[in-house]
């Protein structure tokens, strides 16, 4: 090998060693800068995809549009009425909680977001959304849809945030099973199958397929209590604990819009 080639190879090796020992804060900054730099690509591709979808799927004539509009208006009126009733119920509930010296419970403040990129990595499960610190989003905030829990935010830049999905092994959620007092830690599987596992269940827990699992909402945790996570598919006993396999409530393959819980409503 000529001397110049050896020199180049050694220089690149030194570079690789340097990047290996870069500290976490430095890596985070580099990751945020890169995300900010390439976010226009994500935005442009999401826009192109949206336009193609609109052309292929949502081509409606005027009559269909009128019908859809009137249906949505009536749905909106119905939801407004329901919202009014629920708000008064919430106020009444808070009054009663206050009277009983309980902590006041408020609805969540949500930031709607659109998914602009799905991670190309096989072993990690994450999405990128078109909202960031500019919209009040910070790392470790819960992300939901109208159906259930999606995940939590990790790297946040001014315009783009990364969401670690509940199907990722690193996303741990304190969970409780519907109709029982059983609690466990829910997470994704290392080999991506789209399913979830709930570990550290009581050995006496006799979970049945179809039971719903919710977030337990531990104090100081990321996920608020009562958000649907998944449905029990199977339950097995291990040496020290019980383990259940869950089917997530949210269909991640067709997910387009999510909500980030940025705090409690004032």
């Amino acid at each position: 090998m000529p001397r110049s080639r050896t020199f180049i190879a050694i220089a690149l090796l030194v570079g690789a060693i340097f990047f290996s020992f870069l500290n976490v804060s430095g890596l985070k900054i580099a990751q945020e800068k890169l995300l900010t730099l390439i976010s226009p690509v994500f935005y442009s591709c999401a826009l192109v995809k949206k336009n193609i979808d609109e052309i292929t799927q949502h081509r409606m004539n005027l009559r269909q549009l009128e019908e859809a509009n009137s249906r949505l208006l009536s749905e909106n009126r119905q939801l407004e009425a329901e919202n009014l009733v629920l708000r008064s119920a919430e106020e009444e509930n808070n009054e009663l909680r206050k009277a009983l010296d309980y902590r006041e419970k408020s609805a969540f403040q949500l930031v709607p977001a659109t998914i602009i990129a799905r991670d190309n990595s096989t072993w990690w499960n994450s999405f990128k959304i078109d909202r960031g610190s500019r919209n009040g989003i910070a790392p470790d905030m819960a992300v939901i849809t109208e159906n259930g829990l999606v995940g939590k935010t990790s790297v946040v830049t001014p315009g783009v945030s990364t969401i670690v999905l509940i199907t990722d092994e690193n996303c741990n959620i304190a969970s409780k099973v519907q109709g029982t007092s059983d609690q466990g830690i829910c997470s994704g599987l290392r080999i991506p199958t789209g399913e979830l596992q709930i570990n550290f269940l009581n050995k006496l827990a006799n979970l049945q397929a179809g039971q719903i699992v919710y977030t337990a909402g531990v104090s100081g945790g990321i996920f608020p209590s009562g958000i649907e996570v998944g449905t029990v598919k199977s339950f097995c006993l291990r040496e020290l604990d019980g383990q259940a396999i869950l089917e997530p409530t949210v269909d991640f393959s067709n997910l387009e819009h999510v909500f980030v819980i940025v705090g409690a409503k004032e």
Partner: protein
Amino acid sequence: MALEATLPFIPFLGQVHLILFTIIFCFAALVLPFSGALFFGFITGLLEGLLVMQIYDQHVEIRLGWFILFFTLWALVLQCVSDLTDGIRWELHTLGTGLCTATFLLGEFFLLTFSRGNFFITGDVFIVSLLAAGISFILAPFFYGCLQFLLSPPKQVCTNYLAPL
């Protein structure tokens, strides 16, 4: 890589991801001169590492250096092989892409398993990795043709040219 992340899920592939950047990487590693190929490998590793790397509780699961070393080494291997075959061939590019994708995914899984502890390996790991590598392998000749067409020098039209006797 950024474009690849915007691609929608393919329903019948389940959890298998479409990996296209290795196709471009292998082509560049074969076409570029030695130093350029190695530098391209370095940059590919750096960008891929920064894009997919997850940081949990001040802990990085796979160090950036692994991504850089992996792609730099593959660039070196492809350069050596292209020297042996006396030029680039589509078969070489296709085979290189398949092997590079498979080793990349398997290497990533092994490092992840070592990092998280509780080491285990099942057939599913190989199925997911080899299926993704297989898709890249099938797509590689198409990309090779397109890239060759885009990078080929324009044909020169010679008129009134008399070759010297």
